[in-house]
Amino acid sequence: MTEKDLSYFVNTVIQYFKQVDGEEAVMGLPYIKREDPVVLEYTGIIGISGPRRGGIYFTAGKELLVKLTQAILGESESDVETLQDMVGELTNTVAGNVRKYFGSDFMISVPMLIRGQPEDILLKLKPPVFVVPLTWKQQKAYLVVGLE
């Protein structure tokens, strides 16, 4: 995966938050994931097949997802199912939107949802795995991408 490939994901995440709420996410400096796990409370994972095999995941804490749900529905909800749904939809939208850069053979799966903090997420991701930290409304999240 090249730096340019990673920039497609970064731009897509910036556009996502801007479109949904008007407030852009502030992107941190991407880095290559080492052994330390990068997992917050809610995680959506998308498997990628086709010429670019691998996966992406987006992981966030409760507060960010409550605020995002509020931006979309106009009401703040914090039940587990809603927040899992929110992180899955966000991950699905980012993975789907980058097809305008990677093409229609960039095949995405339905999201797999994880709650809690497992030791780490390695499934589907192809090394090197890039971590993109971001902050939105003072809340941290991470986009993690590992593609062939």
């Binding site: 949904v20 699905n92 939208t93 980012v94 093409g103 339905v110």
Partner: protein, 121 residues
């Protein structure tokens, strides 16, 4: 005008219902996959369908093809994160009236519905 909302995300189903509510559509059903959508289509005969693509059990494009076979007069707006041109074109070739990429705003959805229905609500 009867509306069916199809999306595997409950949040998106609720957002579409909320954003479309000022237009006075009658919501006759919601579905989280293509199979359930086809059952509701045959039972409730909606005039307008919003249809996601990436869903479990049956994806939106397969569902769209079957919808056009069963009720070709149904007006379908495909609403998907798959924002590449060829996916949009494929949806239109299969019979969708329009394609709205996710994420979308309330205004964008209302404009799309008005366009597809000719504002005959």
């Amino acid at each position: 005008m009867k509306l069916l909302i199809v999306d595997d995300s409950n949040i998106m189903r609720r957002a579409i219902e909320k954003y479309a509510s000022p237009l006075g559509l009658e919501l006759v059903g919601t579905a989280g996959n293509g199979q359930d959508a086809l059952s509701i289509l045959q039972e409730k005969k909606p005039d307008l369908v919003t249809l996601d693509i990436t869903m479990p059990l049956m994806d939106g494009l397969t569902c769209l093809k079957e919808m056009m076979r069963l009720r070709p007069q149904t007006k379908v707006i495909v609403i998907s994160a798959l924002s590449d041109q060829s996916t949009g074109l494929k949806a239109l070739k299969l019979g969708a009236r329009s394609f709205l990429p996710k994420p979308f705003t309330e205004k964008q959805l209302m404009d799309e519905i008005k366009l597809v229905t000719g504002e005959l609500l």
